[in-house]
Symmetry: C2
Subunit: 318 residues, 2 copies
């Protein structure tokens, strides 16, 4: 058996976009991006074109999640290929614009990386969201960020699921990556959340600069939480919510939930227990924006992903 390392030689990551305001009431990303539009020194790196961008400006202006429909669910093939007719919902128009500017999605012309900056009302701390378990470039980046953030925790949510994966704004890029930091109420800017997001992005850009300069990153593993199941609030026959997240579960994102643990508390004081067979790790617990999506939290399972060594491919044509 040979002990030689397999190295994946990957394309340079030259064009990078930083999106804020995909949801117009998530203030940390909006504030950072607006700041960088004014003065981009902080996000400049050698060998990198960094574009800060407000993805849903009308929603930002109104400080609301969206105008007509959730932009971060809008990047479906149907929407992106819809004809430009009058009366198209605002976010569908905007998805098509973003796809023209930063895509086309799935093409070789697409941006290399899009960081999409989000906040949550859940107690998720600093979280990176990945869409694929086999994107070694992103896994290496996440590994780098986690190490650089230590001793502070940076969790990784793997949103790779046949039903639960959705068509994100960032999915236009070759390497989409979501930053989700909380807890922060909608419409509020908290300095601790703002600074955490800024620090994660600093490390991410440092990684890109190192990669583009030719540094080789050895094989690594990344602990992730893989999305499993969407859990709704208990409801009556009219669809009205009849219970709240139980105080023992509230704010306990990423902590184990075992069979028999309290999950909901009904308005008349009855505790509803978790009855799944296996231990799960809930997250997005009691996120404001997910009431309308019939979601009290999602369950995840822990998994370790492996990534090949990577380095920049030498461009034989240059």
């Amino acid at each position: 058996m040979s002990s030689r390392t397999i190295i994946s030689c990957l394309q340079e990551a030259k064009r990078v976009a930083i999106f804020g305001g995909t949801h117009g009431n998530e203030m940390s990303g909006i504030t950072l991006v607006n700041m960088w539009i004014q003065n981009s020194v902080e996000i400049e790196r050698d060998g990198l074109v960094s574009k800060p961008f407000i993805s849903n400006p009308r929603a930002v202006e109104k400080c609301t999640r969206y105008i007509d429909t959730d932009l971060n669910r809008a990047f479906t093939p149907e929407n992106l290929s819809a004809p430009d007719v009058e009366g198209l919902p605002y976010e569908i128009q905007r998805a098509k614009e973003i796809n023209r500017m930063f895509g086309p999605k799935g093409s070789s012309d697409a941006y290399d990386v899009i960081f999409d900056l989000h906040n949550t009302t859940s107690n998720m701390g600093s979280t990176l969201i990945l869409e694929s378990s086999t994107d070694f470039f992103n896994l290496q980046m996440v590994h780098y960020i986690k190490k650089a953030m230590a001793p502070h925790t940076c969790s990784v949510l793997l949103n790779e699921h046949p039903q639960l994966k959705y068509s994100t704004t960032r999915s236009v890029a070759k390497h989409p990556i979501g930053l989700e930091v909380g807890p922060q109420p909608q419409g509020v800017l908290r300095s601790n959340v703002f600074e955490s997001m800024r620090t994660i992005l600093k490390h991410a850009l440092d990684f890109l600069e190192l990669f583009n300069s030719g540094v080789e990153f050895p094989p690594c593993t990344v602990d992730v939480f893989r999305i499993q199941e969407r859990m709704d609030y208990p409801r009556d026959t009219n669809g009205n919510i009849t219970a709240m997240v139980h105080p023992h579960l509230q704010d306990c994102d990423w902590e184990p939930l075992n069979r028999g643990d309290p999950m909901f508390l009904t308005f008349d004081g009855r505790t509803i227990l978790y009855e799944g067979a296996n231990t799960v790790y809930p997250t997005f617990i009691n996120e404001a924006a997910y009431y309308e999506k019939q979601q009290a939290f999602v369950t995840t399972c822990r998994e370790i992903l492996a990534a090949n060594a990577i380095r920049k491919a030498s461009n034989v044509f240059s």
Copy 2:
């Protein structure tokens, strides 16, 4: 000198309304009121007519603070006497309706008590809001609630200020009282906040029942925080915010802020200190809804209010 107690003999408090959803995204009050509309046993007391009421149903439906304008600033004499013409902003129409149902404001026909249930994104804990320092009935009620809540704290904000007092929904009643519980993000229901609000209201209704039954309440004093000054975020010449609430001030509602203490942190990392001469007690720190009102927090000063003994007046005409 006589040591006899002066007793204020006050009118029976028979008609009580409990308002939720004056702001349509403050979920605890909305959920409690909807629950009590379905089943009112919990809020029934001898000698009391308790009316649970959703004050801004269209805002509740949209889970937004308001539709056209803030209902909780709309109860001005001008609005309440405005002719019923077409195109009146929704909340002005609604203010006139509420005034017809529960008022007229300032008249002997008005409801005796309105409890208005609010949530805040600020770390204010359980707070009662009063509009007058000389309403002995409310001071006695607040004194009763604070004692019943102990050892849990229940702060009292006195919103009696020539410029900063505003025309609240509850101001229609003879004895208006606001409940403000936080922190809770907009659009989120947290079980701890829900239960605190429910407990405060239980004690409030118990007080009313005791008072109506003829119980005499001896003279008392109440520690309050009197509103003093509205503090805005630092802004640039275009009016854009340039700093955040400093991490040393964030979540420190009701704690002393002294000259030289950190107050804001600019986006480029500079600390802005509090420069007032006197110690103040900030509250409503970083409330989501107050960004549009140019308010980062309000300052208060501590004060002790005294209330006469009270008992129900015997009705000589009955």
